[in-house]
């Protein structure tokens, strides 16, 4: 027999059984993983009483207790309501007119430039999840994404938001309007996530990735040196961690647990969880001799991270101090670098477009002479760099509605 794979096998061994998790995802678990899931579920169940005392809950724990409660995990039956409060979505919703969401849906359906791209991704969003792939789920996700694309035209639609929107719908009892407002709370101005994570050529994501790289250098120096020797940029392993906030990589129950803490404490949770995942699997990653194998190993072990209690324990107690001021400091420095690179990239693109345009105008070069021709390119280039506030599919993807 010829060996067609390289013999890599997932780290979990033994017979596996397939179960459907809290949010409708089929997962394949070893007996040990099933036991660990049960343990975590039992612990969550013990917390129901605490949250239940708050009236179902109708109110959040006192501010001094909230962080602790959320770190331990919000029981699934209270999650939707709690996320709405802790993410700031409830406050944003209250600050708008009553039918704002419906208005955005109508506007999105009528005018969104992003309809084509959203349609393309809808059936490709968790296709194995029964509800999301149902007509009802597809309709709900379409409306949430279309509404967001007109609510925040500077972002429009960015791949990754489809998964976040779907995850929110699944956790928040399929409530579109609630899911919309939490999505807004994550991405809008002054939202939870760093600015421009999804806009402006993902500039914010580049900043976050580089800040994470700095943290890996200081917290996991051995791993950092290894990745550097392999030429394995942090973006190779962590891009989807930031853009999907772990919901495409961790099991959904574990991802929801991360989001419990994210909404209550903010984006430093993403860094803590990223560092925890790297730390917990450092040895396995050090054994890989190629960026591809690093990514594959990491994706495998992360997808099997069913012990959400252990992950969060490492994230909170195993990483050491990580003040937000330090992250902000990294962000500030990295933002400057990324801004320069983005500007360079834009100028290059604008220049190429200007030259292309001039070429297509035939023999103008002969007519204008060298300096006239150069001036024409310059002015076209300047006009292109001017830009406008809203992202457009032409800048950010294939044109809208070309199959309409």
């Amino acid at each position: 027999m010829l060996r067609l794979s390289d013999g890599h096998s997932p780290s979990a061994a033994g017979p596996t059984s397939t179960v459907v998790d809290e949010y409708g995802f089929e997962i394949s678990c070893t007996p040990e993983q099933l036991a660990v899931r049960q343990q975590c579920a039992d612990k969550a169940h013990q917390l129901v009483g605490k949250w239940g005392k708050l009236g179902g809950p109708k109110e959040l724990p006192k501010p001094d207790k909230l962080k602790k409660y959320c770190r331990k995990g919000v029981p699934p039956q209270f999650r939707g309501w709690v996320w709405l409060q802790t993410s700031g979505a409830a406050a944003r919703k209250a600050g708008q007119m009553a039918n704002y969401y419906e208005a955005m849906v109508h506007m999105g359906e009528a005018t969104s430039d992003w309809e084509h791209q959203i349609e393309l991704d809808l059936p490709r969003t968790f296709p194995a999840n029964q509800w999301i792939s149902s007509e009802e789920g597809q309709t709900a996700l379409r409306r949430v994404l279309l509404a967001f694309s007109v609510h925040k035209p500077q972002v429009g639609y960015c791949q990754g938001m489809n998964y976040i929107g779907a995850m929110l719908l699944l956790v928040m009892d399929r409530g579109e309007e609630d899911a919309f407002w939490v999505l807004v709370s994550l991405i809008d101005d002054g939202g939870i996530l760093y600015r421009d994570m999804y806009a402006n050529n993902l500039a914010g994501t580049h900043v976050e990735l580089r800040s994470l790289d700095e943290l890996v250098t200081s917290k996991l120096p051995k791993l950092h040196a290894h990745l550097q020797a392999l030429n394995c940029d942090i973006s190779i392993i962590a891009t989807d961690w930031f853009l999907c906030i772990f919901c495409t990589t961790l099991p959904s129950e574990t991802a929801a647990r991360v989001w419990d803490a994210l909404f209550s404490e903010g984006p430093k949770i993403i860094f803590r969880v990223a560092l925890a995942l790297l730390k917990m699997h450092e040895e396995a990653l050090l054994a890989q001799d190629n960026p591809g194998y690093v990514l594959r190993e990491l994706r495998t072990v992360v997808s099997q991270m069913h012990d959400r209690d252990r992950l969060m324990k490492v994230a909170f107690d195993g990483i050491g101090s990580m003040p937000m001021a330090k992250i902000d400091n990294f962000r500030e420095r990295k933002q400057e670098v990324v801004d320069v690179e983005m500007r360079r990239r834009e100028s290059r693109q604008a220049l190429q477009a200007a030259i292309k345009e001039s070429h297509s105008e035939g023999n103008e070069f002969t007519a204008l002479g060298m300096s006239g021709f150069a001036e024409k390119i310059r002015s076209s280039y300047k006009a292109r760099l001017g830009g406008s506030g809203a992202a457009t599919p032409e800048q950010n993807g294939s044109p809208a509605k070309q199959r309409a």
Partner: protein, 199 residues
């Protein structure tokens, strides 16, 4: 018979192209012989390997995200690649324009010896074709790209794309397995600067 990995030629290959053109589906068909009507949209990138024993080549395949704003992440994947497959959707003219942009960028900024193929995917949807075979073939010929119209769904010409590339890989280095299990077959030094730019 087990193939000795040490004698296998390892080649880094990257897939680029517009969103929804079928990059992930082509790779999945080639590597695992599978096809799903709805393939999850790729965020960041995916990594797969496939050995072609007849060609003595092991492809290390990077499948990338297609949305335009993800473009700024792409150089990380095509730098040092020995080969690239640029994918478009034959029913979508814009995706062909985008494919030409990718080919240009690779010619300018990729490894100078990079072997490139152009794949016009979704050939099973020829009824709604928006890009003619002749136009794409002419472009590929002018620019030195292999060209196939493929269908990941109907399993049409998928392995042909990779076979063409495998046959053209430089043979001279096949007998020199890289000590590090290296990622490329290019002339680039193994150590590049720590931080590669995002554009």
């Amino acid at each position: 018979m087990m193939l000795d990995q040490g004698t296998l030629q390892q080649a880094k290959l990257v897939l680029l192209g517009d969103m929804g053109a079928g990059k992930s589906s082509l790779v999945l068909r080639f590597v695992k012989g599978q096809f799903f009507d709805y393939q999850e949209s790729t965020i960041g990138a995916a990594f797969l390997t496939k050995t072609m024993p007849e060609q003595n080549v092991k492809f290390e395949i990077w499948d990338t995200a297609g949305q335009e704003r993800y473009h700024s992440l792409a150089p990380m994947y095509y730098r040092g690649a020995a080969a690239a497959v640029v994918v478009y959707d034959i029913t979508n003219a814009e995706s062909f324009t985008k494919a030409k942009t990718w080919a240009k960028e690779l010619q300018r900024q990729g490894n100078p010896n990079m072997i490139m193929a152009l794949a016009g995917n979704k050939a099973d949807l020829a009824d709604t074709r928006a890009v003619t075979t002749e136009e794409a073939q002419a472009y590929a010929d002018e620019n030195g790209l292999f060209f196939w119209e493929t269908s990941a769904k109907a399993n049409l010409n998928v392995s042909e794309v990779f076979t063409d590339i495998a046959k053209k890989l430089p043979r001279a280095q096949a007998a020199q397995p890289q000590a590090t299990g290296g990622i490329t077959l290019t002339q680039e030094p193994p150590q590049r600067p720590k931080k590669a730019g995002c554009c």
